[in-house]
Each structure stands twice: as C-alpha cells, then as structure tokens.
Symmetry: C2
Subunit: 331 residues, 2 copies
Amino acid sequence: MQSKEVRLASRPVGMPKTSDFEIATVDLREPGEGEIQVRNVSMSVDPYMRGRMVDRKSYVPPFAIGEVLTGGCIGRVVKSNAKGFNEGDHVSSMYGWREGYTESAEGIEKLGELTAPASAYLGVLGMPGMTAYAGLLEVGALKDGETVFVSGAAGAVGSIVGQIAKLRGCHVLGSAGNAEKVSWLQDELGFDYAFNYNEGNILQHLREGAPKGLDVYFDNVGGEHLQAAITHMRQFGRIPLCGAISAYNDTEAAPGPNNLSIAIGLGLTLRGFIVSHFNHLGQQFRDEMGAWVSSGQIKYQETVYEGVEKAPDAFIGLFTGANTGKMIVNF
Amino acid sequence: MQSKEVRLASRPVGMPKTSDFEIATVDLREPGEGEIQVRNVSMSVDPYMRGRMVDRKSYVPPFAIGEVLTGGCIGRVVKSNAKGFNEGDHVSSMYGWREGYTESAEGIEKLGELTAPASAYLGVLGMPGMTAYAGLLEVGALKDGETVFVSGAAGAVGSIVGQIAKLRGCHVLGSAGNAEKVSWLQDELGFDYAFNYNEGNILQHLREGAPKGLDVYFDNVGGEHLQAAITHMRQFGRIPLCGAISAYNDTEAAPGPNNLSIAIGLGLTLRGFIVSHFNHLGQQFRDEMGAWVSSGQIKYQETVYEGVEKAPDAFIGLFTGANTGKMIVNF
C-alpha cells in the first residue's frame, strides 16, 4: 500500500503558507510482529500544531523539517499482526497528515463500535471536546447558573464550551469572527449573546451581554479578548487559559493584558492547561459527552476538506477563520 | 484632647508629593454612649493606600479630598464609655493617620495582653503578616521543599513570605532594591539566594538562584518581575498576585507580561487575592505566627518614622524603597 503524506518543508514565519508544506508518497511496509497497517479515514488540524512548527522549547517537541507531520486521526485496520486488533477495526492515533501507516499497535487506541461518524472522534468526542469539558468544569470550576464568556466560540473547543455551559443552566456569551458564525451560535447552539469581534468594542459587547459581569471567561484567543474580559470579571472569577490563537502567528511577542492588577482586588484566577493534564477524566468525559451527543443535547458542526493534499489549506484556514466547528480533513 | 491628623490635600499624579497631604489639628469630643477615646501609639502606611488616593472603582472606596486619611493603627484607650473597654487597653483600628480619635467601639478590636511591641500588630502579627501567610499557604498552595521566589522580599509582606517558606523546608529566592536589603535577606533571614533587581537581568538571577525553575512566585511587584518569573516557572507552578508596586504610580497602564501563553502548556495558576478574602483564617494565623515570632523563628524589622507629621514621608518612602521590613509611624 502507498500513502501520500504531508511534510514540513520550512518553518512558517508569521501566517503559514502552502509552500511551507510538501506532499510525498511513500510505500508502507508489511506489519511486523505487534504492528498494524492502517488506512486513515479522517484527520485533524488544530491550532496547537502551529507551536510545533517553531523550533523552541514548548510542551510538545517541535516538528522536524522534511519529516512527516503528526496529529490526531481516525483510521481502519487494513492488516494486523498485533493481538486484539482485527481488519476493519476503527483506531485513533497521532499518525495523521498521511493516508496510512504501518506502526506498532502500542499507543494506538481501538475505538470499538462507533456511535458517531469517525470524524466526531477528532472533535466533540475527541481532544477538542475533552479540552472544553476539562477546561470549563475542572479548570474553570463552573457552577450552575453562572455567567460564562467563551472566545473563539464557533471553533471546535469554543462551541462545546458554550453548550456545556448551557446544559449547566448558565448565561452564555460567545465571540466569533463573522456574522454567519454569530447566527449559528445564537440560533443553533442556544448562546444567550454572541457577537462579531470585528465589529464594535469587545468590552462594550460584554457589558451589553452580561451587565453584571462574568464568572468564567474561557480564553481561546488571548490579546484584546483577554484584556477586555479581565476588566469585566466578577469577584472570584476564573479564567481558563486554553489558547491564544490571536498570537500564534506573531513574529514578536505582543504585550500582555495591562490590567492584570484587577485580579488582585477581585481574587481572580487565571489558570493555563492542556488537555493531557486531565487524562484521568477521559472515561468520564467519553461517557458523559457520548450521551449528550447521542441525545442531541450537544450539537457539533464540521468544516471538511477532502484529501490529504488539502491538509495544509485546512490548517491555514484555522487562522483565517475558515472553519465553523471542527476543521477536518477526510480521505 | 487635641489630635493632629493628616488629610488628603490633592490626588497624587504619579509619585505622591508631601504637598498632596496637609496636617490639621482637631478637638476630640468626649465619648458618648458606646464610644471610646483612643490615643494612637503606632500607625501603618501600606502600598495599597496609593490606590485609594485615586478616584476610581477599586476594592476599597477612594479617599475624599480634604478628609482625614484612614489606615491600620494601634492605640490605647484614654476614656471609655463602651462595655468591655477599659482605660489603658490596647486596641487595633482603621483610624490611623491621626494622633487620636473618639469613635464607636464597634469594629474596634481589643488586643488583650501584647506579646510583642504594639507596632508588630501592624506588621508581622497584623495585615502584612496575614497577607504573607494566606497568600503563600492558601493562594500559593505551598508544598514542603518547593522552590519559591518572592519579589519585594525586604518589604513587610515579602520578608515574612520568605521566612515562612524557609520554615516549610523550601529553597527561597528574593529580590530587593539595594545591597543592604539583599544582605539582610541572606544573612539575617536565611534566604538561599537574594539579588538586587537594579543590577543585572532578573531572569538571569532566577536561573542562577533556581536552576530547575520556580514552583511558586509570590508577586508583590508586577512588571518585569512577573514576566521573568513566568518564563522561569515549572509545570503546575502557582503565582499569587499580591501587589504590583512597580505600577502604582504609573499615570498610564503599563503593558502586561508578553509571555502569558507559557501558562497554558505548563498549567500555571495566577491568582489574585487580598487579605480580607481570608478573614476566616485569622485565628489560625494569630496562633501560628504568634508562636513563630515568640520563638524567634520568624524575625521582623521595622523602618520607623516619628510623629504623625512624618506619615506622608513614610508613605512616599514605600515607593522609593526607603523601608526594610515594615514601614511604621510611631507617636
């Protein structure tokens, strides 16, 4: 079996370009003892991958130039030489950005019977869903009925954050980058107040949507959003720091919020996290989110690109707002 | 009885000047039913008072122009018309910046038998000591043996933070504004590494004093200190935000730390607090700190000005680094 794969051709400076990537075709070896051969059906592109394209110390090591990229993907076993894995099984792995692979079955997760389309396991039932779940409930220590603001609310994480908060009886605000996304948040997902952050002043929007202030601000964006939210927090508010997509393509560090001292008097908590800090909640998440999705209480949307050659475009689209919900590449 | 008092003559712009204050003399009335007349013996000046001199929303309301200032003080009852208070009793109140007062006994705390000089109840055994105690142990969630950095380490709060951390078996770093203070921290208080933040690069100092990084950074200063500390934190580190004295006299908001996104991958917590959030720990603090001070395990130093007329100078001195340990005005 042959596999087309996407390699990092050069480290992006600022906004990534398609020329920072290259497509190659490789022959997959036959599976040795303990290995499986997998044909991917769906792969994920996520904002955090931008950090790995830079050569610096981070919580995940950088990608190497000329090597195939990695990331979450769902595939089906084509050939198995590993106990417990059979042809046709759906598996979840980090061997994304390629059509297929032959690798040790160790560290590859067997999904069992799917209760949703394969791609959902890269989104609402996968890493972004878990990020929303752990970030809002654990890091944000959400209480029923509070007022919650999430930025990047039409994204893979933000759209789930808002819906979980609604299920917990909260008053929910969200920001997104265009009118269509704003409508989706309000009309389909039940956000109480959604706004286009390109129109008007963020703080003004927050004052309108939450006159009494915010208890939780789930930060996917950083920058102006974070500063405005800090100004509008209530006493003992919590700010889970999940991402700072506004700055991922900056070539110089942008100044941070100039109003952090507000946190002192109000007793605010800003707490960063990544999903792997909460691996111990994985089963609880899968059970609870699985039920919410099956019952339709949590909805999700995908923006789908077709074919591994389109993966760079899909990735770049994350930073131009091309996606509503989870950005997916299907094969 | 007459009392000299200090009033706010004008709202300081930038660094406060003595002309922002005025001294007046008033006659104290005889105590009515439920009132006591008190002669103050010691008053406190604290950095947080700077915020109250500005006319803006904050966690404490602003001082009014032309009115006597307030703040922590210790006095002795001269005349009592209130049950439970007798002539000679030591009392703690917020009727500072004046030689004496006649007020309702309600809200005035009777200290009982003093086990330390009166002024200690404004410092190590009072609000700054409690701030250090609650901020390090509760907000900072200190664990034995961790690595702790405190800025403003020669101040009323910082010097106690460092000593509590030492009692908990921690490796302790501190910054201060001159060589004399640095010596005091290392030679008298047992800090493992202390440095003059005016010399060299703060981050470089942190790397030298704590090659493996910081578990807790107790922030009294903000600005460059906060940014350098964030860069040097270890996974799951905690940053109690206690003060930002570097910015208290700024006329425009200074940019915040440009590296907050580090908090995401490392799972850092930045949490603001003020001492009144922890009033429920007051008795535990007084018992534990009282024992530490009596046994000499916690040392304290004071910088003392004499006479209420000197209170403005003492206050201004907080921002020029004139104090080692607690800044006190004795009468």
